[in-house]
C-alpha cells in the first residue's frame, strides 16, 4: 500500500483529486495555525518581526494573531515566564479550544534560561503545560521561529485521526493552575519544581505523542547536576569534565523523536 501516495500524486497531476480523510484534516489544520497574540519578554519582539512583512508568517497561514484564546490554535510562549505570570499562562492555555499547540520560544520559556537559578522565574513552561516544539536561542531569530512552525506542521501532518485526543469523546483536559506558595508555585500543596539540580523532566508531553511522562526524576541514583557544578565529577580541565554526562548515557534528554512517515500513516 506504500505506493498509494504515489498514485494519489499522479492522479492529482491529471486533475483528479484523491485524498484520505486524515490527510485532508491535517492539511486543513496545518495550513491555518492561528497563534495567540501573547508575548512575555524580548522574544516577543522577534515574534512580532516574524509576523511582519520581512519574514512574513502569512506564508504559512499563521499570520492571524488572535487576541482571544478562544480563537487561537497555537500558543507561542515568547519570553521569560515569571512565577507570578505562570498561572495566567496556564489559564490562557486552558481557555484555548482543542486542537491546541504550544511552541516554547527561547531559552527562558524552555528552561528558565539565565534566570533559572533566580527566585522568581519558572524553570521551563513545560512544567505546567505540554510543549510541542522547543526553540533554543536567546532570543531566537525569526528564521528559528519559522523553522519551529514548519516543525509543528510536520508534527500535525503525522497525526492520526484515531489517536489524537480531540476527535474522541473525552473532554478537553484542564491543566491545573498553580497556586502561590511560600517558597514557590504549588500544585495541590506540592512545589512544582522542588529539585535544585539540573535538568528536570517535564511531567507533560504534547497530546499527539500519545504518552504521558511521569514527571519523576527517572534515575534518582544519578547525581543530576551539570558536571561543572558537581564535586564528584572528575575534571579534565576547568571547563571540561571527563567522560560523558549521565543524561546522555541514559538517553535522558528531553528530546522526543518525531518521525514523519506519510506512507506508513496512510497505510493504517
Amino acid at each position: 500500500m506504500s505506493d498509494d501516495r504515489d498514485i494519489q500524486l499522479e492522479a492529482e497531476k491529471q486533475g483528479v483529486f484523491l485524498t484520505t480523510m486524515q490527510r485532508f484534516y491535517n492539511w486543513g489544520r496545518r495550513s491555518s495555525v492561528w497563534p495567540l497574540s501573547f508575548g512575555l519578554a524580548c522574544c516577543a519582539i522577534e515574534m512580532m518581526a516574524t509576523g511582519l512583512a520581512r519574514f512574513d508568517l502569512a506564508r504559512f497561514g499563521a499570520e492571524m494573531f488572535r487576541a482571544s484564546p478562544r480563537q487561537a490554535d497555537l500558543m507561542i510562549v515568547a519570553g521569560t515566564v515569571t512565577k507570578k505570570m505562570a498561572p495566567q499562562v496556564v489559564r490562557l492555555y486552558n481557555q484555548m479550544p482543542e486542537p491546541r499547540y504550544v511552541i516554547s520560544m527561547g531559552a527562558c520559556a524552555t528552561s528558565g534560561g539565565p534566570f533559572r537559578d533566580g527566585y522568581n522565574v519558572l524553570r521551563g513552561i513545560d512544567l505546567l503545560i505540554p510543549v510541542d516544539v522547543y526553540i533554543p536561542g536567546c532570543p531566537p531569530r525569526p528564521e528559528a521561529l519559522l523553522h519551529a512552525l514548519m516543525t509543528l506542521q510536520k508534527q500535525i501532518d503525522a497525526q492520526r485521526l484515531n489517536r489524537v485526543r480531540w476527535y474522541g469523546k473525552r473532554e478537553a483536559k484542564e491543566y491545573p493552575v498553580p497556586a502561590f506558595g511560600k517558597h514557590g508555585l504549588e500544585i495541590d500543596g506540592k512545589l512544582v519544581d522542588p529539585v535544585g539540580g539540573l535538568p528536570l523532566i517535564s511531567p507533560y508531553t504534547s497530546p499527539t505523542q500519545g504518552e504521558m511522562r511521569s514527571g519523576m526524576i527517572e534515575h534518582p541514583e544519578l547525581v543530576r547536576y551539570f558536571p561543572i557544578m558537581d564535586e564528584t565529577v572528575e575534571l579534565e580541565s576547568p571547563q571540561k569534565a571527563k567522560g560523558v554526562a549521565p543524561e546522555i548515557v541514559h538517553n535522558d534528554l528531553k528530546r522526543p523523536v518525531v518521525e514523519v512517515d506519510h506512507a506508513r500513516d496512510e497505510q493504517r
Binding site: K84, Y119, N120, R123, G181, K182, H183, L191, V195, G196
Partner: protein, 189 residues
C-alpha cells in the same frame, strides 16, 4: 543649571540641620585630574598589580541618621529646591551588617541628582516613610520592603509588590537561602 556637590550638601546640612549627619569614612580620592590630590595620593597609592583593601561603606555622599530622613528630605525640597524624589532603593552590605537606603533627588531645572543615604542595621531595618510628602515614594518603598525587608512606619499600604503575598523571605538580600527552587535549609533536614 543647579548642581550641588556632595561636599557642599554635607556643609549645608551640617550648618542648617545640626546633628543630622552620620559619621562616615570618606573614600580616598585618587583622581589624576586634581593636582593637590595627585601629589598627596602618590605615597599612599598601591603598587602596580596590588589593590588597596576595599572599604565598602566608605562614601563621600551625605549619610544621615534614619530617623531624620523626613527632615532632610523636606530641607532638600524646600530650601535647596530639589523637588523630585526620583529614586529610592536599598543596598545590602552583608559583611557589615548594614542596609543602606539611597535617595535620589532631582531639581526640576535640570542638573545632576542629589544623593542622600541612610544606614540601618540589617536585623532591624526601620526607616520613616516619605509617602506623606511624596506620594510617588509609595511604590518604591513597597519594593524595598518586598525585596529587602526594610520597614517603613507611616506607609499607608506596606505590602509586597513584586512577589506574591504568600512568599516568605527577602529575596534580594545577599543571604537569601535559595538557589532555583531549592532552599538550602531543605537539604540539611
Amino acid at each position: 543649571m543647579p548642581g550641588m556637590s556632595s561636599a557642599e550638601l554635607k556643609g549645608r546640612l551640617a550648618d542648617d540641620l545640626p546633628g543630622v549627619l552620620m559619621p562616615t569614612r570618606t573614600r580616598m580620592q585618587m583622581s589624576n585630574g586634581n593636582e593637590a590630590s595627585a601629589g598627596d595620593g602618590k605615597a599612599a597609592r598601591p603598587k602596580r598589580g596590588e589593590h588597596a583593601p576595599v572599604d565598602l561603606l566608605a562614601t563621600d555622599d551625605a549619610v544621615v541618621y534614619p530617623e531624620r530622613i523626613p527632615d532632610v528630605a523636606r530641607y532638600v525640597r524646600d530650601v535647596l529646591g530639589y523637588e523630585l524624589l526620583s529614586n529610592i532603593t536599598a543596598v545590602d552590605y552583608l559583611a557589615d551588617g548594614v542596609i543602606e537606603m539611597v535617595y535620589h533627588f532631582f531639581h526640576l531645572d535640570g542638573g545632576p541628582a542629589l544623593v542622600v543615604k541612610t544606614r540601618v542595621p540589617r536585623d532591624n531595618p526601620v526607616v520613616p516613610s516619605l509617602t506623606d510628602e511624596w506620594p510617588g515614594a509609595n511604590l518604591q518603598e513597597r519594593e524595598a520592603f518586598d525585596l529587602f525587608g526594610v520597614v517603613f512606619p507611616g506607609h499607608p499600604n506596606l505590602t509586597r509588590i513584586c512577589m506574591w503575598d504568600e512568599f516568605e523571605g527577602w529575596p534580594m538580600r545577599k543571604d537569601f537561602p535559595k538557589q532555583g527552587d531549592k532552599y538550602f535549609s531543605d537539604s540539611e533536614e
